[in-house]
Symmetry: C2
Subunit: 195 residues, 2 copies
């Protein structure tokens, strides 16, 4: 594997691109794993070695994503408000270059739209929540399994996904702005509701 004709992760990347394209054009359920494998030039069996489920092909290397988020949270100064730190970490982790933005849009549109992917996303979100809850626990000295860390993790993740949805619906605004809008509402206890 170390150095075949193509570099190491090339096949994986090809699979991911093929999967995204097929799912986006024909719908997640209407595309079989065989078709994705064929389009990527590998066998069905190998496809399921790259990605344990069909849904995982949409997420790419999500573990690295979570690791980056974890690193950002651990590196954040303890003086900063916790919610601001989490918002900044979400924003930075999802700060793609202009070339990769269309891919991110396609990916998020699928995840937020297709029921099967929507369901699967909960499992991925749980990994994020774990990392965020641990950060809150470190910051406050509480048990990561306690109410507050879990609540902050779940709420901020709700804010993030809502921001993603708003960003998808409106092409003109950028993601960071939507994230800040959502987190500001959350941090202030939804002042708009009282107005």
């Amino acid at each position: 594997m170390t150095s075949t004709a193509a570099p190491a992760g090339a096949a994986r990347a090809r699979v991911e691109r093929a999967a995204l394209a097929l799912f986006a054009s024909r719908g997640f359920d209407a595309v079989t794993a065989d078709e994705v494998a064929d389009a990527a030039g590998i066998s069905r069996r190998t496809f399921f070695r790259y990605y344990p489920t069909k849904a995982d092909a949409v997420w790419g290397d999500f573990a690295a994503h979570v690791d980056r988020l974890d690193g950002l949270l651990r590196a954040a100064g303890p003086d900063r408000p916790v919610l601001a730190t989490i918002c900044a970490a979400y924003a930075e982790v999802n700060d793609y270059g202009d070339d990769d933005l269309p891919v991110l849009r396609q990916r998020m549109r699928l995840i937020l739209t297709e029921p099967a992917l929507q369901a699967h996303s909960q499992l991925r979100y749980a990994e994020i929540d774990r990392v965020v809850a641990e950060h809150v626990a470190r910051s406050t000295g509480e048990d990561p399994a306690g109410l507050l860390p879990r609540l902050v993790a779940a709420s901020t993740r709700a804010a993030a996904t809502t921001a993603f949805a708003a960003w998808l619906a409106d092409d003109r605004t950028d993601l960071a702005r939507q994230l800040h809008r959502a987190f500001d509402e959350l941090a202030a206890g939804f002042p708009t509701l009282r107005g």
Copy 2:
């Protein structure tokens, strides 16, 4: 169907009880749909007519649940704070008698613990979010698809599920208290984080 030997929904209830018991004792994935059907005394085919997926057998009549929530939100006075209304509605919908509490515990433990059910829950939560977001939209005059209604729906649902988790972890407190703790934190913008 109108009146066979047993009342109409008896078979459905039997399926639900059998499913809950089997899933709780051996794990959701380790139990096949055939086994649940056998235990309930019906055929596999009929099982899938009662519940479209194996996971749905755990949720029982969830549509009625959502309808009740919707009714409570629509009936709430407009003078009351929105978050308080939502919290009260969540509490009332989940206010079971002492006899049914063990069933609720079993159900929620499965949903929050088993990965497959965790994933499936996202689809059910989406129905709740729709109803809550519409309520917020009615209260504020905004578009139900806008940022604020979606954000409030997602955040309050996060608070509710977190309260459920805390309730499951601690047998002594009741669910309503946990719901209020979580919603109070949320409504105040997590004051504990600043203390």
